[in-house]
């Protein structure tokens, strides 16, 4: 029996081209390297898919979402005050600043942001600046550690411990503070707390000076960060960078100056900014911002007024418990607030605050009532990370840790 078989003869030129392609693939001219999501330099759960040509990065694809918890969905299902604990878990290195930013956004919707008592505003500024120092201390320490200077990390962590002790005395929790309430604060400053804070500002100034001496003229640190990861002014704006990363790229912009909230317009501070936009500039900006925060803290302590810490409105803030038990009106207010929440008008507001990582914004779309219809969190780390696929190509693989460290992101707020 004869078996006929059809044979397809391929074009020889195409075959050779295909073989060359296959061969290149086998030899692996380009290599794909997966970095993260569990990698010490990714500070959380960022995953980078890098395409390498030798040691040079040719393509970078950041993968995010490993810490996505659906915070915006959760916000649509609870009253405004109930969402405050979730804001702790956005930028979990500066929960106090997140609490303040969120409370201010809701207060803008309720139109009570200019009725906040002076004392409340000063305490909130203290919270924001403490959070900034704490976040930058960690950011700098971890950055230095990533590029090989472990000592600084240990020094800055000692100082952060003091901040945590202050925060614990203030809020009752070290990490998840949930300190603000819509229209005020959960409690006033404890007795003797301001003295402790004054002592801390003196001590942290020394510590910042020490870190400065260890890093700023450190040959190894400078070599690893100078002219590495340069982000031009145009790129920084186009990619929506904010905070120290934007200022490092020679954009002199700070929401506390450009759109002052709380009492920032009554306080004196400078806004540092870089010129080149490399990792070293971003480091310098953070270093100086800590000094300016100390300056702000000292001014707040000197000016801190007495008086109430909450707005006087029974429909916004929970009434005094003694009155709830003895007076009808307060009892009704308490009941309404707990069961319905603050009755917000229909409308939409956006409020952005200058947080340690950049502009943390809340967009609230309300159809009226105690629950937002849509709450969008504009997370600074999300926009800051989107520039990676633009910045990383062309750099050595060892520069990745320096660039990541200098961008100082937090996945909790990036993924929400």
């Amino acid at each position: 029996m004869t078996v006929t078989q059809k044979l397809e003869v391929k074009d020889s030129v195409a075959c050779t081209a295909q073989a060359v392609d296959d061969l290149q693939d086998v030899q692996g001219e380009k290599m794909t390297l997966n970095m993260g999501p569990s990698h010490p330099a990714t500070h959380g759960v960022l995953r980078l898919v890098l395409e390498l040509d030798g040691e040079i990065i040719t393509k970078a694809d950041p993968e995010i979402g490993y810490l996505h918890r659906g915070d915006e969905k959760i916000a649509e299902n609870m009253t405004y005050n109930q969402f405050i604990p979730y804001t702790d878990r956005l930028d979990y290195l500066a929960p106090l600043a997140n609490n303040v930013a969120y409370a201010l956004a809701v207060e803008k919707l309720l139109d009570i942001h200019d009725k906040l008592p002076e004392r409340c505003q000063y305490i909130r500024v203290i919270c924001c600046e403490l959070a900034r120092i704490s976040a930058h201390l960690l950011g700098l320490g971890a950055f230095a550690m990533d590029v090989g200077a472990l000592t600084v990390f240990l020094h800055t962590f000692t100082e952060r411990e003091k901040i945590y002790n202050l925060i614990e005395a203030l809020t009752g929790a070290r990490f998840t503070t949930t300190y603000t309430r819509i229209g005020g604060l959960s409690r006033d400053l404890p007795e003797g707390w301001t003295d402790e804070l004054a002592k801390f500002t003196r001590e942290v100034s020394t510590a910042i000076g020490e870190a400065d001496k260890l890093l700023t003229r450190n040959k190894i640190f400078v070599d690893r960060t100078k002219d590495v990861g340069v982000i031009s002014r145009g790129d920084a704006i186009d990619f929506g960078l904010t905070g120290p990363n934007l200022r490092g790229s020679n954009v002199e912009y700070d929401l506390r100056k450009a759109h002052p909230y709380l009492v920032y317009d009554q306080l004196e501070f400078d806004v540092p900014y870089g010129e080149v936009g490399d990792c070293y500039d971003r480091y310098l900006v953070r270093m100086e911002e800590m000094r300016q925060s100390v300056r702000l803290l000292d001014q707040c302590l000197a000016k801190l007024p007495g008086g109430p810490i909450n707005v006087e409105d029974g429909k916004i803030i929970l009434p005094d418990k003694q009155k709830v038990l003895s007076s009808m009106e307060e009892l009704i207010h308490q009941f309404m607030l707990v069961t319905q929440g603050q009755d917000a008008p229909a409308g939409e507001v956006y409020f952005g605050a200058e947080n340690p990582k950049g502009e943390l914004g809340f967009y609230i779309f309300s159809k009226g009532g105690g629950v937002p219809y849509r709450l969008k969190i504009r997370a600074p780390s999300f926009a800051n990370l989107s520039i990676l696929s633009n910045t990383l190509p062309g750099h050595m693989i060892s520069d990745v840790v320096a660039i990541l460290g200098s961008l100082d992101f937090v996945m909790g707020e990036c993924d929400r």
């Binding site: 100056k257 507001v349 956006y350 969008k376 926009a383 989107s386 993924d415």
Partner: protein
């Protein structure tokens, strides 16, 4: 080192152009598709009636009016109201310090609008997020993949008809392939419900 006046430029009144003037200019350019600006809490919102021209409006705002920074891009699910989707653009200019909010609506059948990632590169990730969470396409986007959820996830979780507890997915051995047990939280509140069971259901819109 910049001179002192330049360093304090945010406090100088003459460069503080008002958002109203800018909104007026935008309205003049696109008279037929841009509604009158609405002010609420000092913020201006401009509604663009033709979603297909949103990229053009944004391009003009950036090139001619100096809105060089896209603060945020987000979407709202109007659920039972038509049109179903609203896209919200928060734009800002570093030279004039003005915010503006642009809004445009998209019907459920269309569920797509032109990308603005060619106007501001930061829109690339914001649009990927909007696509991932709401399922709205951005035509012309260079890389419209899911960003927060994993590739292959079948639902769009920020839609109002997606239950808080989650939905089962067909994928075996995958985390979250079953609805999350909600008896311990998240603590759901429906303001204004009749009794406490109605007000605080442990699970909203449970499947089945």
């Amino acid at each position: 080192m910049p001179s002192q006046p330049e360093r304090e430029r945010w406090s100088s009144p003459e460069i503080r152009m008002t958002a109203k003037q800018l909104a007026k200019k935008l309205k003049q350019q696109f008279r037929e598709i841009v509604f009158e600006p609405v002010e609420f809490r000092g913020e201006l919102t401009l509604e663009v009636s033709d979603a297909l021209r949103i990229a053009e409006v944004c391009q003009f705002a950036k090139a001619e009016l100096g809105f060089d920074y896209l603060v945020d891009l987000t979407t709202i699910d109007n659920h039972e109201d038509a049109p179903r989707w609203t896209a919200v653009y928060h734009i800002y200019g570093y030279d004039h310090f003005c915010h503006l909010r642009l809004k445009t609506s998209v019907s459920e059948e269309a569920s797509g609008l032109p990308t603005v990632s060619s106007v501001w590169r930061t829109a690339n990730w914001h649009e990927r997020e909007a696509y991932d969470m709401m399922g709205i396409r951005f035509d012309g986007h260079p890389d419209l993949r899911r960003i927060l959820m994993w590739e292959g996830y079948p639902y769009f979780p920020l839609r109002k008809d997606f239950p808080l507890a989650g939905k089962s997915s067909e994928m075996p051995n995958m985390a979250f392939s079953d609805p999350a047990p909600l008896d311990g939280g998240p603590f759901v509140t429906v303001a204004g419900g009749g009794d406490s069971t109605a007000r605080e259901p442990r699970m909203r819109n449970p499947e089945g």
